[in-house]
Symmetry: C2
């Protein structure tokens, strides 16, 4: 009986991959992953067997891990960011449901929420909600409802999958919903290709958010009612101002 590691390699370069994840990759016979992400580790482990499958074949990818592990291999399911945030950690457990004897270990990584936040400053220092704008697996009504309730609760918002070629308008739709509950001058930020070639980040207001050029490699941050721009950085206060002079 083999073993499945489900690992998040962080947003981009090897500098954001934890030593525990590197050790799991090094200890694996096979690295399995989405074609684009597996490229990020392939060159670091040229000797490993690689199973790369395209997007929309997630169930097959998890089954491949299961079969390899049942056959005695040590396998790493490689995800970008953190494997447990919109990653494969859940599906691997579901696909292996009938094999409780199979060892599955999820190893955490740096997710786009915290990596993007670090690039932009400190938007997530107070309570926040992560919402994926992809309606591939979730009805848009559920997404819209969550956006409105999170805005009503004055959560900072971190939006994953803000747009894609098939969904060029979802960020605009989300911004319009949020404008029902938040002021148009609410500070927002976008981070793109975090930790990879072409990394960029920039600020805008909620009123301008709908027109921003976001894609599948972009993570979007919408401030709460207290979020400020401090020397060009997006900063959400935690409340220390109330405790004395800053």
């Amino acid at each position: 009986m083999g073993k499945i590691y489900v690992v998040g390699i962080g947003p981009g370069g090897p500098g954001d991959t934890t030593p525990r994840v590197e050790a799991a990759l090094a200890a694996s016979d096979v690295l399995v992953g989405y074609t684009t992400y597996i490229q990020l580790v392939r060159e670091r482990y040229p000797e490993k067997e690689i199973v790369a499958t395209p997007m929309t074949t997630e169930v097959e990818r998890c089954r491949a891990c299961r079969e390899l592990a049942l056959g005695g291999k040590t396998v790493s399911m490689v995800c970008s960011g953190d494997a447990g945030v919109y990653g494969m950690a859940g599906l691997v457990h579901q696909v292996c449901r009938d094999f409780p004897e199979l060892e599955i270990q999820v190893l955490p990584g740096v997710t786009a929420a915290t990596a993007g936040a670090a690039l932009l400053g400190a938007p997530l220092v107070h309570d926040f909600a992560a919402v994926s704008l992809s309606d591939a697996l979730t009805p848009w009504e559920t997404i819209a409802r969550r956006l409105l309730l999170a805005a009503e609760g004055d959560f900072v918002l971190c939006l994953y999958n803000p747009a894609s070629k098939k969904r060029p308008n979802t960020l605009r739709q989300a911004a319009e919903l949020l404008l029902r509950r938040r002021a148009p001058d609410t500070p927002c930020g976008l981070a793109r290709r975090i930790g990879r070639e072409g990394e960029e980040s920039w600020l805008c207001t909620l009123g301008e958010l709908g027109e921003q050029p976001a894609d599948m490699f972009t993570t979007v941050f919408v401030g709460n009612s207290q979020t400020q721009v401090v020397n060009g950085r997006l900063v959400t206060p935690r409340g220390y101002e109330g405790k004395g002079t800053l």
Copy 2:
């Protein structure tokens, strides 16, 4: 003019600290941090100057960083987990507001939400909200309102700072609020001392959550309406079931 790195060393051991953060620590003249967390890195960098300040002196700690950097030192503000999630990244920017020429770089780390999730299985695979139950800087009314709205939106919840010696009842109060919107058999999980000596994690139901022995080193997860227990792990489906047979 020096530089300030604001770094998250991850939840516990060096295996969860990213290489970029290690490089920043190694490049720093001084390591500044909360007494408990700075111990975690002190032994790794015995030659560094250390400035350790106790809890509730966060503003002073950030000012110490600022003064050291203005004096030409390279300083790392050391946080546990990720520096931008209930960490010092925001306050450092605020305290340095009048010194725009001072270089501040936040480096992301593995936060307790994703590290605890990995220990428990995969609870955060779908939309989630992070809420701190500490009312030291946030009125309890705001916290309660956020819990109710997040529950209404069927977000998975990740609760930071669920209890402390001064606040032995906050997790019970939070559980009672959530029970107004979620079924008592909603699967929950707790992770304690993640990545450190004495690490433990366990599952319970929302009905049992209020009685769990949580402390400042515990992170709590409350499932959404779809979260399941799969072979002893807490798993939130992302929706692939609808796409074909698992």
